[in-house]
Protein backbone atom coordinates (compact mmCIF):
# COMPACT_ATOMS: atom_id res chain seq x y z
CA UNK A 1 0.00 0.00 0.00
CA UNK A 2 1.36 3.31 -1.12
CA UNK A 3 1.75 6.07 1.45
CA UNK A 4 -0.67 8.85 0.65
CA UNK A 5 0.82 12.28 1.05
CA UNK A 6 -0.92 15.61 0.63
CA UNK A 7 0.66 18.90 -0.35
CA UNK A 8 -0.36 21.69 2.00
CA UNK A 9 0.10 25.38 1.36
CA UNK A 10 -0.71 27.45 4.43
CA UNK A 11 -0.71 31.23 4.15
CA UNK A 12 2.37 31.08 1.98
CA UNK A 13 3.67 34.55 1.17
CA UNK A 14 6.82 35.48 -0.69
CA UNK A 15 8.02 39.00 -1.42
CA UNK A 16 10.88 39.76 -3.77
CA UNK A 17 11.79 43.23 -2.62
CA UNK A 18 8.62 45.26 -3.08
CA UNK A 19 6.99 42.63 -5.32
CA UNK A 20 4.47 40.27 -3.74
CA UNK A 21 5.08 37.21 -5.89
CA UNK A 22 2.89 34.99 -3.71
CA UNK A 23 0.28 36.45 -1.41
CA UNK A 24 -1.28 34.40 1.42
CA UNK A 25 -1.64 31.21 -0.59
CA UNK A 26 -3.59 28.40 1.09
CA UNK A 27 -4.77 25.17 -0.50
CA UNK A 28 -4.35 21.42 -0.21
CA UNK A 29 -3.49 18.98 -2.98
CA UNK A 30 -5.05 15.56 -2.43
CA UNK A 31 -3.60 12.21 -3.45
CA UNK A 32 -5.20 10.03 -6.11
CA UNK A 33 -5.98 12.78 -8.57
CA UNK A 34 -4.29 15.22 -10.89
CA UNK A 35 -4.47 18.80 -9.68
CA UNK A 36 -3.89 21.58 -12.17
CA UNK A 37 -2.08 24.65 -10.85
CA UNK A 38 -3.02 27.32 -13.34
CA UNK A 39 -2.30 30.95 -13.92
CA UNK A 40 -0.67 33.22 -16.44
CA UNK A 41 3.10 33.66 -16.51
CA UNK A 42 4.07 35.80 -13.56
CA UNK A 43 1.11 34.72 -11.43
CA UNK A 44 3.45 33.19 -8.85
CA UNK A 45 3.18 29.49 -9.75
CA UNK A 46 6.88 28.82 -10.02
CA UNK A 47 7.68 30.80 -6.87
CA UNK A 48 5.03 28.82 -4.96
CA UNK A 49 6.45 25.52 -6.17
CA UNK A 50 10.03 26.57 -5.43
CA UNK A 51 8.98 27.57 -1.91
CA UNK A 52 7.34 24.16 -1.50
CA UNK A 53 10.59 22.49 -2.54
CA UNK A 54 12.84 24.46 -0.22
CA UNK A 55 14.58 26.28 -3.06
CA UNK A 56 13.05 29.61 -2.12
CA UNK A 57 12.62 30.77 1.45
CA UNK A 58 9.06 32.04 2.03
CA UNK A 59 8.57 35.44 3.61
CA UNK A 60 5.88 33.86 5.80
CA UNK A 61 3.61 30.84 5.86
CA UNK A 62 4.47 27.24 5.08
CA UNK A 63 4.28 24.74 2.26
CA UNK A 64 4.68 21.11 3.30
CA UNK A 65 4.16 17.49 2.36
CA UNK A 66 1.67 16.24 4.92
CA UNK A 67 3.13 18.67 7.44
CA UNK A 68 6.80 17.93 6.71
CA UNK A 69 8.91 20.57 5.00
CA UNK A 70 10.88 19.37 1.97
CA UNK A 71 14.25 19.80 3.64
CA UNK A 72 13.10 17.64 6.56
CA UNK A 73 12.00 14.70 4.40
CA UNK A 74 14.19 11.71 5.21
CA UNK A 75 14.45 10.68 1.55
CA UNK A 76 13.30 13.65 -0.51
CA UNK A 77 13.52 12.13 -4.00
CA UNK A 78 11.71 8.99 -2.87
CA UNK A 79 8.86 11.12 -1.51
CA UNK A 80 8.61 13.94 -4.02
CA UNK A 81 9.51 13.86 -7.70
CA UNK A 82 10.03 17.23 -9.27
CA UNK A 83 10.36 18.58 -12.78
CA UNK A 84 10.74 22.35 -12.75
CA UNK A 85 10.45 24.55 -15.80
CA UNK A 86 13.98 25.83 -15.38
CA UNK A 87 15.27 22.48 -14.18
CA UNK A 88 18.46 22.53 -16.12
CA UNK A 89 21.23 20.29 -17.14
CA UNK A 90 24.93 20.73 -17.61
CA UNK A 91 25.18 20.58 -21.42
CA UNK A 92 28.40 18.58 -21.31
CA UNK A 93 26.97 15.75 -19.20
CA UNK A 94 25.05 12.84 -20.71
CA UNK A 95 21.41 12.22 -19.82
CA UNK A 96 22.28 9.01 -18.02
CA UNK A 97 25.07 10.66 -16.01
CA UNK A 98 22.74 13.48 -15.06
CA UNK A 99 20.41 10.90 -13.52
CA UNK A 100 23.27 8.98 -11.93
CA UNK A 101 24.52 12.14 -10.20
CA UNK A 102 21.07 12.61 -8.65
CA UNK A 103 20.68 8.90 -7.87
CA UNK A 104 24.01 8.89 -6.04
CA UNK A 105 23.03 11.95 -3.98
CA UNK A 106 19.69 10.39 -3.04
CA UNK A 107 20.96 6.87 -2.44
CA UNK A 108 18.92 5.42 -5.30
CA UNK A 109 20.30 2.33 -7.10
CA UNK A 110 22.04 3.07 -10.40
CA UNK A 111 19.84 0.65 -12.31
CA UNK A 112 16.88 2.96 -11.68
CA UNK A 113 18.42 5.55 -14.03
CA UNK A 114 18.07 3.17 -16.98
CA UNK A 115 14.54 2.27 -15.91
CA UNK A 116 13.33 5.88 -15.96
CA UNK A 117 15.13 6.58 -19.25
CA UNK A 118 13.19 3.63 -20.67
CA UNK A 119 9.96 4.82 -19.04
CA UNK A 120 10.25 8.31 -20.53
CA UNK A 121 11.19 7.02 -23.97
CA UNK A 122 14.71 8.46 -24.20
CA UNK A 123 16.69 5.29 -23.47
CA UNK A 124 18.49 5.42 -26.80
CA UNK A 125 19.62 9.00 -26.08
CA UNK A 126 20.90 8.14 -22.60
CA UNK A 127 24.57 8.31 -23.51
CA UNK A 128 24.31 11.53 -25.48
CA UNK A 129 25.25 14.92 -24.06
CA UNK A 130 22.23 16.94 -23.01
CA UNK A 131 23.56 19.99 -24.86
CA UNK A 132 22.21 18.53 -28.11
CA UNK A 133 18.74 17.71 -26.76
CA UNK A 134 15.54 19.26 -28.11
CA UNK A 135 13.15 20.94 -25.67
CA UNK A 136 10.88 17.90 -25.84
CA UNK A 137 13.74 15.57 -24.93
CA UNK A 138 14.78 17.83 -22.07
CA UNK A 139 11.21 17.69 -20.79
CA UNK A 140 11.34 13.91 -20.89
CA UNK A 141 14.68 13.92 -19.09
CA UNK A 142 13.22 16.30 -16.50
CA UNK A 143 10.38 13.84 -16.03
CA UNK A 144 12.84 10.95 -15.79
CA UNK A 145 14.53 12.86 -12.95
CA UNK A 146 11.13 13.32 -11.28
CA UNK A 147 10.36 9.60 -11.46
CA UNK A 148 13.83 8.52 -10.31
CA UNK A 149 12.85 7.90 -6.70
CA UNK A 150 9.46 6.32 -7.53
CA UNK A 151 7.90 9.13 -5.49
CA UNK A 152 4.47 9.39 -3.82
CA UNK A 153 4.12 13.00 -4.87
CA UNK A 154 4.86 14.58 -8.25
CA UNK A 155 5.34 18.30 -8.69
CA UNK A 156 5.64 19.22 -12.34
CA UNK A 157 6.07 22.78 -13.57
CA UNK A 158 4.88 23.24 -17.17
CA UNK A 159 5.71 19.63 -18.14
CA UNK A 160 3.80 19.85 -21.41
CA UNK A 161 5.69 22.86 -22.77
CA UNK A 162 7.70 21.91 -25.83
CA UNK A 163 6.31 18.41 -26.27
CA UNK A 164 5.10 17.28 -29.67
CA UNK A 165 1.49 16.04 -30.04
CA UNK A 166 2.53 12.45 -29.50
CA UNK A 167 4.46 13.49 -26.39
CA UNK A 168 1.47 15.42 -25.08
CA UNK A 169 -0.78 12.38 -25.43
CA UNK A 170 1.84 10.24 -23.74
CA UNK A 171 2.27 12.57 -20.75
CA UNK A 172 -1.48 12.88 -20.26
CA UNK A 173 -1.76 9.12 -20.04
CA UNK A 174 1.21 8.96 -17.69
CA UNK A 175 -0.20 11.60 -15.32
CA UNK A 176 -3.58 9.84 -15.18
CA UNK A 177 -1.88 6.53 -14.49
CA UNK A 178 0.27 8.01 -11.71
CA UNK A 179 -2.81 9.51 -10.05
CA UNK A 180 -4.73 6.24 -10.34
CA UNK A 181 -1.88 4.53 -8.51
CA UNK A 182 -2.76 6.78 -5.59
CA UNK A 183 -0.01 9.34 -6.05
CA UNK A 184 -0.44 13.05 -5.54
CA UNK A 185 0.09 14.88 -8.81
CA UNK A 186 0.39 18.68 -9.06
CA UNK A 187 0.85 20.04 -12.57
CA UNK A 188 1.29 23.70 -13.35
CA UNK A 189 0.43 25.31 -16.65
CA UNK A 190 -0.37 28.72 -18.02
CA UNK A 191 -2.81 27.19 -20.49
CA UNK A 192 -5.97 25.56 -19.22
CA UNK A 193 -6.55 23.87 -22.58
CA UNK A 194 -3.21 22.10 -22.15
CA UNK A 195 -4.34 20.30 -19.02
CA UNK A 196 -8.13 20.40 -19.03
CA UNK A 197 -8.40 16.84 -20.33
CA UNK A 198 -6.03 15.59 -17.67
CA UNK A 199 -6.80 17.36 -14.43
CA UNK A 200 -9.54 16.46 -11.93
CA UNK A 201 -9.17 19.55 -9.83
CA UNK A 202 -7.87 23.03 -10.45
CA UNK A 203 -6.28 25.77 -8.39
CA UNK A 204 -6.14 29.03 -10.32
CA UNK A 205 -3.63 31.66 -9.37
CA UNK A 206 -3.55 35.28 -10.38
CA UNK A 207 -1.25 37.97 -9.03
CA UNK A 208 -0.01 35.60 -6.36
CA UNK A 209 -3.47 34.75 -4.98
CA UNK A 210 -5.88 31.86 -5.42
CA UNK A 211 -8.81 33.09 -7.49
CA UNK A 212 -10.54 29.75 -7.93
CA UNK A 213 -10.27 26.30 -6.46
CA UNK A 214 -12.47 23.35 -7.25
CA UNK A 215 -13.31 20.70 -9.77
CA UNK A 216 -13.41 21.64 -13.43
CA UNK A 217 -17.18 21.07 -13.42
CA UNK A 218 -17.93 23.88 -10.95
CA UNK A 219 -15.52 25.99 -12.82
CA UNK A 220 -17.24 25.76 -16.21
CA UNK A 221 -20.72 26.23 -14.81
CA UNK A 222 -20.10 29.52 -13.04
CA UNK A 223 -22.95 31.76 -14.22
CA UNK A 224 -21.91 34.44 -16.66
CA UNK A 225 -23.70 36.51 -19.26
CA UNK A 226 -22.63 38.62 -22.18
CA UNK A 227 -24.36 41.97 -22.20
CA UNK A 228 -24.08 45.00 -24.47
CA UNK A 229 -25.68 48.35 -25.06
CA UNK A 230 -25.19 51.19 -27.55
CA UNK A 231 -24.04 53.08 -24.45
CA UNK A 232 -21.40 50.58 -23.33
CA UNK A 233 -19.56 52.94 -20.92
CA UNK A 234 -22.87 53.82 -19.27
CA UNK A 235 -23.74 50.14 -18.97
CA UNK A 236 -20.38 49.37 -17.45
CA UNK A 237 -20.81 52.15 -14.90
CA UNK A 238 -24.30 50.91 -14.03
CA UNK A 239 -23.12 47.31 -13.55
CA UNK A 240 -20.15 48.36 -11.45
CA UNK A 241 -22.45 50.56 -9.38
CA UNK A 242 -24.60 47.50 -8.76
CA UNK A 243 -21.52 45.69 -7.48
CA UNK A 244 -21.35 43.19 -10.33
CA UNK A 245 -17.96 41.92 -11.60
CA UNK A 246 -17.51 43.16 -15.16
CA UNK A 247 -14.96 42.13 -17.77
CA UNK A 248 -14.49 42.94 -21.45
CA UNK A 249 -15.49 40.21 -23.88
CA UNK A 250 -15.37 40.02 -27.66
CA UNK A 251 -19.01 40.86 -28.24
CA UNK A 252 -19.79 42.96 -25.17
CA UNK A 253 -19.27 42.99 -21.43
CA UNK A 254 -18.97 39.67 -19.62
CA UNK A 255 -20.60 39.65 -16.21
CA UNK A 256 -20.24 36.81 -13.74
CA UNK A 257 -23.80 37.06 -12.42
CA UNK A 258 -27.22 35.67 -13.30
CA UNK A 259 -28.85 37.37 -16.30
CA UNK A 260 -31.78 38.61 -14.21
CA UNK A 261 -29.48 40.65 -11.95
CA UNK A 262 -27.70 42.13 -14.93
CA UNK A 263 -30.97 43.14 -16.61
CA UNK A 264 -32.26 44.67 -13.38
CA UNK A 265 -29.13 46.72 -12.89
CA UNK A 266 -29.36 48.08 -16.44
CA UNK A 267 -33.07 48.86 -16.03
CA UNK A 268 -32.50 50.77 -12.80
CA UNK A 269 -29.95 52.95 -14.59
CA UNK A 270 -32.29 53.40 -17.57
CA UNK A 271 -29.89 51.86 -20.03
CA UNK A 272 -31.25 50.11 -23.12
CA UNK A 273 -29.65 46.75 -23.86
CA UNK A 274 -28.72 45.53 -27.30
CA UNK A 275 -27.63 42.10 -26.12
CA UNK A 276 -28.18 39.89 -23.08
CA UNK A 277 -27.27 36.25 -23.41
CA UNK A 278 -25.74 33.47 -21.29
CA UNK A 279 -22.04 33.05 -21.79
CA UNK A 280 -21.23 30.01 -23.82
CA UNK A 281 -17.52 30.53 -23.70
CA UNK A 282 -15.34 27.52 -23.12
CA UNK A 283 -13.43 26.90 -19.95
CA UNK A 284 -10.49 28.70 -21.45
CA UNK A 285 -12.36 31.97 -21.82
CA UNK A 286 -13.69 31.82 -18.28
CA UNK A 287 -10.16 31.07 -17.17
CA UNK A 288 -8.79 34.04 -19.06
CA UNK A 289 -11.45 36.28 -17.58
CA UNK A 290 -10.62 35.03 -14.10
CA UNK A 291 -6.93 35.61 -14.40
CA UNK A 292 -7.23 38.65 -16.63
CA UNK A 293 -9.32 40.46 -14.04
CA UNK A 294 -7.60 38.70 -11.21
CA UNK A 295 -7.33 41.76 -9.01
CA UNK A 296 -11.05 42.40 -9.13
CA UNK A 297 -12.07 38.80 -8.64
CA UNK A 298 -9.42 38.02 -6.06
CA UNK A 299 -10.10 41.06 -3.90
Amino acid sequence: MRTRTTIEFQHLTKHFGPVRAVDDLSFTVEPGRVTGFLGPNGAGKTTSLRSLLGLVRPTSGTATFGGIAYRDLPRPLATVGTALEASSFSPGRTARNHLLVAAAAAGIPRSRADEVLELTGIAEAGNRRVGGFSLGMRQRLGLAFALLGDPEVLVLDEPINGLDPEGIRWIRGLLRELAQQGRTVLVSSHLLSEVQQTVDHVVILSHGRVVHEGSLDDFGSSPAVVVDSPDRPGLRAALLAAGLPVADGDSGLVVSAPAVDVGAAAARAGIALSLLQPERAGLEETFLQLVGTGEGVGA
Binding site: R50, L55, R71, P76, S88, V101, A102, A106
Partner: protein, 273 residues
Protein backbone atom coordinates in the same frame (compact mmCIF):
# COMPACT_ATOMS: atom_id res chain seq x y z
CA UNK B 1 27.26 12.73 3.54
CA UNK B 2 28.77 9.66 1.82
CA UNK B 3 26.03 9.93 -0.82
CA UNK B 4 26.71 13.63 -1.32
CA UNK B 5 30.42 12.92 -1.77
CA UNK B 6 29.68 10.14 -4.25
CA UNK B 7 27.38 12.46 -6.19
CA UNK B 8 29.92 15.29 -6.27
CA UNK B 9 32.61 12.88 -7.46
CA UNK B 10 30.40 11.73 -10.33
CA UNK B 11 29.55 15.34 -11.11
CA UNK B 12 33.21 16.23 -11.47
CA UNK B 13 34.09 13.12 -13.47
CA UNK B 14 31.19 13.27 -15.93
CA UNK B 15 32.12 16.49 -17.71
CA UNK B 16 35.26 17.26 -19.66
CA UNK B 17 36.36 20.14 -17.41
CA UNK B 18 38.69 18.24 -15.06
CA UNK B 19 40.79 16.52 -17.67
CA UNK B 20 40.97 19.55 -19.94
CA UNK B 21 42.38 21.53 -17.00
CA UNK B 22 44.63 18.61 -16.02
CA UNK B 23 45.98 18.48 -19.55
CA UNK B 24 46.76 22.20 -19.65
CA UNK B 25 48.33 21.91 -16.20
CA UNK B 26 50.53 19.04 -17.39
CA UNK B 27 51.66 20.90 -20.50
CA UNK B 28 52.33 24.15 -18.62
CA UNK B 29 54.14 22.52 -15.70
CA UNK B 30 56.07 20.25 -18.05
CA UNK B 31 57.23 23.18 -20.12
CA UNK B 32 58.22 25.24 -17.08
CA UNK B 33 59.99 22.39 -15.26
CA UNK B 34 61.82 21.35 -18.42
CA UNK B 35 62.90 24.92 -19.07
CA UNK B 36 64.08 25.46 -15.50
CA UNK B 37 65.98 22.17 -15.45
CA UNK B 38 67.65 23.01 -18.76
CA UNK B 39 68.52 26.57 -17.74
CA UNK B 40 69.88 25.78 -14.29
CA UNK B 41 71.61 22.69 -15.57
CA UNK B 42 73.41 24.67 -18.23
CA UNK B 43 74.09 27.52 -15.80
CA UNK B 44 75.61 25.11 -13.27
CA UNK B 45 77.85 23.71 -15.99
CA UNK B 46 79.08 27.13 -17.03
CA UNK B 47 79.74 28.27 -13.47
CA UNK B 48 81.65 25.08 -12.80
CA UNK B 49 83.89 25.72 -15.80
CA UNK B 50 84.85 29.19 -14.61
CA UNK B 51 87.31 29.03 -11.75
CA UNK B 52 86.40 31.39 -8.92
CA UNK B 53 82.79 31.80 -9.96
CA UNK B 54 80.21 31.10 -7.24
CA UNK B 55 78.69 27.65 -7.55
CA UNK B 56 74.95 27.17 -7.29
CA UNK B 57 74.13 26.05 -3.76
CA UNK B 58 74.23 22.31 -3.49
CA UNK B 59 70.80 20.75 -3.86
CA UNK B 60 68.99 23.99 -4.64
CA UNK B 61 68.11 23.24 -8.24
CA UNK B 62 65.94 20.10 -8.05
CA UNK B 63 63.44 21.64 -5.57
CA UNK B 64 63.09 24.70 -7.80
CA UNK B 65 62.39 22.48 -10.79
CA UNK B 66 59.94 20.17 -9.03
CA UNK B 67 58.09 22.94 -7.22
CA UNK B 68 57.17 24.43 -10.60
CA UNK B 69 53.98 22.37 -10.05
CA UNK B 70 52.74 24.85 -7.48
CA UNK B 71 54.75 27.88 -8.57
CA UNK B 72 52.98 28.07 -11.93
CA UNK B 73 50.31 25.36 -11.58
CA UNK B 74 48.41 26.31 -8.40
CA UNK B 75 45.93 28.34 -10.43
CA UNK B 76 44.56 25.13 -12.05
CA UNK B 77 43.11 23.46 -8.94
CA UNK B 78 41.95 26.93 -7.91
CA UNK B 79 40.01 27.30 -11.17
CA UNK B 80 38.73 23.72 -11.01
CA UNK B 81 37.32 24.35 -7.54
CA UNK B 82 35.77 27.65 -8.57
CA UNK B 83 34.15 26.18 -11.70
CA UNK B 84 32.85 23.17 -9.78
CA UNK B 85 30.57 25.61 -7.97
CA UNK B 86 29.90 28.35 -10.49
CA UNK B 87 29.05 25.97 -13.35
CA UNK B 88 26.18 24.68 -11.20
CA UNK B 89 24.91 28.23 -10.91
CA UNK B 90 25.45 28.93 -14.58
CA UNK B 91 23.60 25.83 -15.81
CA UNK B 92 21.05 26.00 -12.97
CA UNK B 93 21.96 22.52 -11.87
CA UNK B 94 21.82 23.73 -8.29
CA UNK B 95 18.08 23.06 -8.58
CA UNK B 96 18.38 19.26 -9.06
CA UNK B 97 21.35 19.24 -6.69
CA UNK B 98 19.38 20.81 -3.85
CA UNK B 99 16.31 18.72 -4.67
CA UNK B 100 18.35 15.56 -4.22
CA UNK B 101 20.10 16.93 -1.12
CA UNK B 102 18.15 19.81 0.45
CA UNK B 103 20.73 20.25 3.20
CA UNK B 104 22.90 22.71 1.37
CA UNK B 105 25.71 22.69 3.89
CA UNK B 106 26.26 19.00 3.13
CA UNK B 107 26.49 19.74 -0.58
CA UNK B 108 29.15 22.38 0.05
CA UNK B 109 30.98 20.08 2.48
CA UNK B 110 30.97 17.27 -0.07
CA UNK B 111 32.31 19.62 -2.73
CA UNK B 112 35.17 20.65 -0.41
CA UNK B 113 36.08 17.00 0.24
CA UNK B 114 35.88 15.96 -3.42
CA UNK B 115 37.76 19.00 -4.69
CA UNK B 116 40.49 18.53 -2.07
CA UNK B 117 41.03 15.06 -3.50
CA UNK B 118 40.86 16.38 -7.07
CA UNK B 119 43.41 19.09 -6.19
CA UNK B 120 45.71 16.44 -4.74
CA UNK B 121 45.33 14.42 -7.95
CA UNK B 122 46.26 17.54 -9.92
CA UNK B 123 49.32 17.79 -7.66
CA UNK B 124 50.29 14.21 -8.45
CA UNK B 125 49.77 14.78 -12.19
CA UNK B 126 51.93 17.91 -12.02
CA UNK B 127 54.67 16.09 -10.10
CA UNK B 128 54.71 13.18 -12.51
CA UNK B 129 55.30 15.62 -15.35
CA UNK B 130 57.73 17.91 -13.48
CA UNK B 131 59.85 15.03 -12.20
CA UNK B 132 59.38 12.96 -15.34
CA UNK B 133 60.76 15.75 -17.53
CA UNK B 134 62.91 17.65 -15.04
CA UNK B 135 64.88 14.77 -13.56
CA UNK B 136 66.23 13.38 -16.88
CA UNK B 137 67.17 16.87 -18.03
CA UNK B 138 68.97 17.58 -14.76
CA UNK B 139 70.80 14.28 -15.00
CA UNK B 140 71.67 14.92 -18.64
CA UNK B 141 73.18 18.29 -17.76
CA UNK B 142 75.34 16.72 -15.13
CA UNK B 143 73.28 17.61 -12.05
CA UNK B 144 71.98 15.44 -9.28
CA UNK B 145 68.24 14.91 -9.80
CA UNK B 146 67.97 14.17 -6.07
CA UNK B 147 65.42 11.44 -6.61
CA UNK B 148 66.92 9.35 -3.83
CA UNK B 149 66.70 12.26 -1.44
CA UNK B 150 63.93 12.11 1.19
CA UNK B 151 63.74 15.92 1.06
CA UNK B 152 62.57 15.67 -2.54
CA UNK B 153 59.72 13.36 -1.59
CA UNK B 154 58.79 15.49 1.41
CA UNK B 155 58.59 18.41 -1.01
CA UNK B 156 56.40 16.32 -3.31
CA UNK B 157 54.06 15.63 -0.39
CA UNK B 158 53.82 19.33 0.42
CA UNK B 159 53.14 20.11 -3.26
CA UNK B 160 50.19 17.68 -3.21
CA UNK B 161 48.89 19.25 0.00
CA UNK B 162 49.21 22.78 -1.44
CA UNK B 163 47.33 21.80 -4.61
CA UNK B 164 44.53 20.25 -2.50
CA UNK B 165 44.26 23.44 -0.43
CA UNK B 166 44.12 25.62 -3.55
CA UNK B 167 41.25 23.54 -4.90
CA UNK B 168 39.17 24.05 -1.75
CA UNK B 169 39.98 27.76 -1.79
CA UNK B 170 38.44 27.62 -5.29
CA UNK B 171 35.26 26.03 -3.92
CA UNK B 172 35.04 28.80 -1.34
CA UNK B 173 35.55 31.49 -3.97
CA UNK B 174 32.88 29.91 -6.18
CA UNK B 175 30.38 29.69 -3.34
CA UNK B 176 30.97 33.34 -2.57
CA UNK B 177 31.10 34.77 -6.11
CA UNK B 178 28.52 32.70 -7.97
CA UNK B 179 28.71 34.48 -11.31
CA UNK B 180 31.08 32.31 -13.31
CA UNK B 181 32.66 35.09 -15.37
CA UNK B 182 33.09 37.34 -12.34
CA UNK B 183 34.60 34.51 -10.28
CA UNK B 184 37.12 33.58 -12.98
CA UNK B 185 38.05 37.21 -13.56
CA UNK B 186 38.60 37.70 -9.82
CA UNK B 187 40.68 34.52 -9.55
CA UNK B 188 42.87 35.38 -12.53
CA UNK B 189 43.21 39.05 -11.66
CA UNK B 190 44.15 38.26 -8.08
CA UNK B 191 46.59 35.44 -8.76
CA UNK B 192 48.23 36.80 -11.90
CA UNK B 193 48.20 40.52 -11.21
CA UNK B 194 47.16 41.78 -7.79
CA UNK B 195 49.04 39.33 -5.65
CA UNK B 196 52.37 39.46 -7.54
CA UNK B 197 52.27 43.27 -7.27
CA UNK B 198 51.42 43.10 -3.58
CA UNK B 199 54.19 40.58 -2.96
CA UNK B 200 56.73 42.73 -4.77
CA UNK B 201 55.42 45.87 -3.10
CA UNK B 202 55.37 44.48 0.43
CA UNK B 203 58.89 43.14 0.13
CA UNK B 204 60.27 46.71 0.04
CA UNK B 205 60.00 47.46 3.75
CA UNK B 206 60.49 45.08 6.58
CA UNK B 207 57.17 45.72 8.27
CA UNK B 208 55.20 45.25 5.04
CA UNK B 209 57.15 42.11 4.29
CA UNK B 210 56.02 40.75 7.63
CA UNK B 211 52.44 41.16 6.43
CA UNK B 212 53.16 40.19 2.83
CA UNK B 213 54.24 36.68 3.71
CA UNK B 214 50.66 35.97 4.74
CA UNK B 215 49.42 36.52 1.17
CA UNK B 216 48.06 33.20 -0.10
CA UNK B 217 50.62 32.84 -2.88
CA UNK B 218 53.45 33.55 -0.45
CA UNK B 219 51.93 31.13 2.05
CA UNK B 220 51.72 28.50 -0.66
CA UNK B 221 55.41 28.99 -1.51
CA UNK B 222 56.23 28.77 2.17
CA UNK B 223 54.28 25.53 2.44
CA UNK B 224 56.06 23.96 -0.52
CA UNK B 225 59.32 25.40 0.75
CA UNK B 226 60.99 26.23 -2.54
CA UNK B 227 60.00 28.05 -5.64
CA UNK B 228 61.26 30.38 -8.24
CA UNK B 229 59.85 33.38 -6.38
CA UNK B 230 61.18 32.54 -2.94
CA UNK B 231 64.53 31.69 -4.47
CA UNK B 232 64.79 35.14 -5.97
CA UNK B 233 63.08 36.72 -2.97
CA UNK B 234 65.76 35.54 -0.58
CA UNK B 235 68.40 36.42 -3.16
CA UNK B 236 66.98 39.94 -3.11
CA UNK B 237 68.16 40.26 0.44
CA UNK B 238 64.89 40.42 2.32
CA UNK B 239 65.55 40.20 6.01
CA UNK B 240 62.13 38.82 6.89
CA UNK B 241 62.04 35.05 7.03
CA UNK B 242 59.22 33.41 5.12
CA UNK B 243 56.65 31.45 7.09
CA UNK B 244 57.40 27.94 8.22
CA UNK B 245 55.96 25.32 5.87
CA UNK B 246 53.23 24.34 8.33
CA UNK B 247 52.38 28.01 8.93
CA UNK B 248 51.99 28.47 5.18
CA UNK B 249 49.68 25.46 5.10
CA UNK B 250 47.60 26.84 7.95
CA UNK B 251 47.31 30.21 6.20
CA UNK B 252 45.98 28.51 3.05
CA UNK B 253 43.59 26.38 5.11
CA UNK B 254 42.38 29.47 6.96
CA UNK B 255 41.73 31.26 3.65
CA UNK B 256 39.77 28.25 2.37
CA UNK B 257 37.71 27.93 5.56
CA UNK B 258 36.95 31.64 5.88
CA UNK B 259 35.97 32.09 2.22
CA UNK B 260 33.80 28.95 2.32
CA UNK B 261 32.02 29.96 5.52
CA UNK B 262 31.34 33.46 4.24
CA UNK B 263 30.16 31.98 0.93
CA UNK B 264 27.88 29.53 2.74
CA UNK B 265 26.38 32.19 4.98
CA UNK B 266 25.73 34.59 2.11
CA UNK B 267 25.37 33.42 -1.49
CA UNK B 268 25.04 29.66 -0.92
CA UNK B 269 21.82 29.98 1.06
CA UNK B 270 20.16 32.38 -1.36
CA UNK B 271 16.88 31.61 -3.12
CA UNK B 272 17.27 29.47 -6.23
CA UNK B 273 14.87 31.01 -8.72
Amino acid sequence: MINAIRSETLKLMTTRLWWVLALILAVYVGFTAGLLAGLFGALGDQLAQQPGAPALPEGMVPPIVYSAVTAVGYVFPLILGTLAVTSEVRFQTLTPTFLAQPRRGRVLGAKLVVLAIAGAVFGVIGLVVAIGLGAPILTATGNDAALGDTDTWALAGRVVLAMALWAIIGVGVGSLIQNQVAAIVVVLAFTQFVEPILRAGTSIWEWTATVGRFLPGAASDALVGASLFTAFGTAGGSTVDPLEWWQGGLVLLAVAVIVSIVGYLTAWRRDIT
